[in-house]
């Protein structure tokens, strides 16, 4: 449901970057969305279509890359893929881990004219 807010943030950044590049037309934008970002790609696409149309950016394409949920165990000094949202090291079992990827919500690239 909050995909609308996400796209509003996205469009604000796109406008800034287009101004900087003196671009007038948005062709496409690539975003990276974490597996655990709480975003539904379909809802994001719908919101993007609505908001780009409202902002005179009709026809712009949204490309979504999903980044997998991975962690790093500070004890074993090893990375691992988080499966089934189990946030502990699959080898040693400790919870002293950090999330390496899977929570992102970032813009990666714009294609403009």
């Amino acid at each position: 449901m909050h995909e609308m807010s996400i796209v509003q943030g996205l469009i604000a950044i796109i406008k800034e970057e287009m101004d900087k590049a003196k671009a007038t037309r948005l062709i496409s934008v690539r975003v990276k969305i974490g597996e655990m970002a709480g975003i539904l790609p379909d809802a994001l696409n719908t919101a993007f279509e609505i908001i780009t149309t409202q902002n005179g950016m009709d026809g712009a394409v949204l490309n979504i890359d999903i980044s997998p949920l991975t962690g790093f165990c500070r004890k074993c000094k090893k990375g691992f893929k988080v499966i089934d949202y189990r946030f502990s090291c699959p080898d040693c079992g400790v919870s002293d881990i950090e999330i390496v990827s899977g929570r992102e919500m970032s813009i990666v690239e714009l294609e403009v004219e």
Binding site: M1, H2, E17, S106, L110
Partner: protein
Amino acid sequence: MKISVVRNILEANDRIAEQNREIFNENSVLVINLMSSPGAGKTTLLEKTIDSLKDDIRIGVIEGDIETTRDAERISAKGVPAVQINTKGACHLDGNMIRDTFNEFNFTELDLLVVENVGNLVCPAEFKIGEDFKAMILSVTEGDDKPGKYPLMFHESKVLLVNKIDLLPYVDCSMEKIREDALKINPDIVIFPVSCKTGEGLDAWFTWLKERVKGKKVAL
């Protein structure tokens, strides 16, 4: 022409949340972002918490709802400052909405500010508001499958209150499964099984919360 830009889509909100946090820190106010699905008992928990702690701790509340001022009225009736935010459709509170309430509070006269987010187990977890931590309520009538279904919220919360435990004999919900699944997603989450109806388990929550408020005063 392709332009490479790596920027966080929520950067504008994160920036405002950080500014809010600085103001809360300057005033040593502990701020909790309280989240749950609709009807889990957020406002009732707040009422009970205020009743128990208001002589020791100066509490303020921000109520987030899509419509109506009912919750703020319930909290104001307890004699603590309460401000209602109506999001008019938005499913979560954000940093900006919180900042807009600042004129309504005198933070030098508060120890604890609880922000009751819009009832929703998904979206509020993504938007920082400048809080010290997120707390969530899950009521047993919602079922023990919720940690697995909404992992983000459980992962982001520091504390989980499992409410309505007086109803456990009547519903197919296992306290053990909730505990097991929540700890799998967030091994550090602090869990309080409570009943806001009977008062069971609430003392442990009050004691824990008082310690956190005290901790914030000492830390700064």
